[in-house]
């Protein structure tokens, strides 16, 4: 039965934990708070160690909270992270997205810094500053940086952040056995999508939308074991999805994957969604990593990485790349569908469209079509934001009101 405006706007007949207010995806004030309260305290994947194989190799990364970062490997092999901002006149220090810089030299006035963040040159230092100011008085702003969980470079922009291990809270334990060998990035691309970052994470957090993917229906949903895959919630809003044996040969043009992953059962597929916007996705022969960088309430830049093993032969690597591209490349069968889906959500949820509620009401004993992954995420969202996701403008909104499902 169709609904009147009042019926459409009435709260859904679910517990408050099973739906959210759609203004979560459009309100600029909420978006600004999210950058402060969700992204700043979070550990974020900036890149992979294989992108910095040699001393002085660097990568640039724009942190989701907005901070431009230089990730650089020192001569001592340690990877460090610094603001990509010159302490002199605030210029950008490095412009190219990657490179090798024994000295990080600002093009503006040629101040130089080493890979530990020390200032090693101020041009005409004595003439300009006499005894009043010297190199020791300046340095790059360093942020927390660790290489962990498969060789990924994690950064945190808060000096008083929780340790990375505490932030992950065991969510990646399920993948640890598969990340014992060195990995290597073979694919990287960015997608600028007109949608809210949470909607992309939602898509990674629920499998009910497999109805959108012919590839997943035919190789997964119609195969044994699919409906036994289970979600496991972890502290801090993270969640994992258990494996099954994907029947790749059921899709015309595909076949059982010739290259597997050490320790992973044939056709296996695990996922871990990390709050507030990252996903590990180990699908039989490839690991995909998504990192969301929110640009605005209805704009997100997603970094996609594909990884194989560093020890891959040329043939193995080519097969992993083929497997990756078939579903996850920019021309792949699934990624386009997923991104099209969240673009459609972004279009329908814009301010003024009349959208009102997003339902997370499916309960199937935490199995694959249960929407517990999203409920768990928004419970953490509510806690960190001090706003109930189902009623973010409520008086006294600081009260954490929802428990994890």
């Amino acid at each position: 039965m169709s609904k009147t405006e009042a019926q459409w706007n009435a709260a859904p007949k679910f517990p408050a934990s099973h739906y959210v207010d759609s203004r979560l995806y459009t309100d600029p004030q909420i978006f600004a708070e999210e950058k402060e309260k969700l992204f700043k305290p979070a550990w974020i994947i900036a890149c992979h160690e294989s992108e910095l194989p040699a001393a002085y190799d660097y990568r640039l990364f724009t942190h989701p909270a907005g901070v431009p970062l230089i990730i650089i490997r020192g001569e001592d092999e340690k990877v460090r992270a610094f603001y990509n901002i010159c302490p002199h006149r605030g210029n950008t220090l490095l412009y190219d997205p990657s490179g090798n810089a024994k000295r990080v030299t600002c093009i503006f006035h040629q101040w130089s810094f080493d890979a530990r963040g020390n200032c090693v040159q101020i041009t005409r230092e004595q003439e300009g500053y006499q005894q009043r100011f010297c190199k020791d008085d300046v340095g790059l702003r360093e942020v927390k940086c660790e290489v962990a969980y498969g060789g990924f470079v994690w950064v945190n922009v808060l000096d008083d952040c929780v340790p990375l291990r505490d932030f992950i809270g065991g969510a990646l334990d399920i993948l640890e056995p598969f990340m014992q060998q060195p990995m290597e990035v073979f694919h990287f691309h960015k997608a600028h999508i007109h949608t809210n970052f949470k909607l992309w994470h939602d898509t990674n957090s629920e499998f009910y939308h497999d109805y959108m993917h012919y590839f997943n229906r035919i190789t997964g949903m119609l195969q044994p074991g699919y409906f036994e895959r289970k979600y496991t919630p972890f502290p801090n809003g993270h969640a994992s999805v258990g494996s099954m044996q994907i029947q790749y040969d059921k899709y015309e043009g595909s076949k059982e994957r010739a290259v597997g992953w050490p320790g992973l059962a044939r056709g296996g597929w695990y996922m871990v969604d990390l709050f507030p916007g990252m996903t590990y996705n180990l699908r039989t022969s490839v690991i995909r990593i998504d990192t969301s960088i929110p640009l605005g309430p209805n704009d997100v830049l997603i970094e996609f990485r594909g990884l194989g093993l560093k020890t891959d032969s040329a043939e193995e690597r080519a097969q992993r790349i083929f497997d990756h591209n078939m579903i996850w490349g920019p021309f792949g069968r699934n990624l386009h569908e997923d991104l099209l889906g969240v673009t459609g959500q972004g279009r329908a949820l814009r301010q003024g469209t009349g959208s009102r509620w997003i339902l997370h009401g499916r309960e199937e004993n935490n199995t694959i079509h249960d929407e517990v992954g999203m409920r768990h995420y928004y419970a953490e969202w509510s806690r960190r934001m001090g706003r109930p996701a189902y009623d973010p403008y409520r008086e006294g909104k600081a009260e954490p009101v929802r428990a994890a499902a």
Binding site: V185, F186, F188, A191, G253, G332, H336, L339, T343
Partner: protein, 153 residues
């Protein structure tokens, strides 16, 4: 290579664009040799690596095309604009480099946007009859393709 041969090669490149623009995959494949291979590649300055984004033989391309109706795809049509830059004879083949611009036009309202730029690096078979595409490497400069696309360039 005489002017007529060069013109026939250029026309092959342009006809391949017209066929793909029209979604006429049968005609496109008819322009290709039985051992045709199609690849999309690009270089990532971020990870400092060559990347292959699509790589199919003729059978793989056929399967990709026939599978399209089963998938949810963006239906905005593409316009492929190619300009043949160089044609270099090489025995029974010719190596052809063309500039490529791909535009996408929204179905609702008809807004057109530049979708991608790059080059075709084609190998054209000249051994008898009309020239045919034996190899197409789409070398992309553009690496941000938004929500992507299911149909090759």
């Amino acid at each position: 290579m005489n002017t007529e041969q060069r013109q026939a090669i250029a026309e092959l490149i342009y006809r391949s664009c017209l066929a793909l623009d029209a979604g006429d995959y049968k005609t496109f494949l008819a322009l290709c040799t039985p051992d045709f291979r199609y690849t999309v590649s690009t270089y990532s300055p971020e990870i400092k690596r060559e990347m292959v984004w699509l790589d199919h033989d003729r059978k793989g391309m056929e399967t990709l095309f026939t599978g399209l109706p089963r998938h949810n795809s963006d239906h905005s049509p593409l316009s492929r604009h190619a300009t043949v830059y160089t044609v270099e004879p090489d025995g029974t083949q010719a190596k052809v480099v063309s500039a490529l611009q791909v535009f996408r036009t929204q179905l609702d309202g008809g807004n057109t946007e530049l979708f991608a730029v790059g080059r075709f690096h084609d190998t054209v078979a000249l051994d008898g009859g009309a020239p045919k595409l034996a190899r197409r490497l789409v070398r992309l400069d553009t690496r941000q393709l938004g929500y992507g696309y299911h149909v090759p360039f």
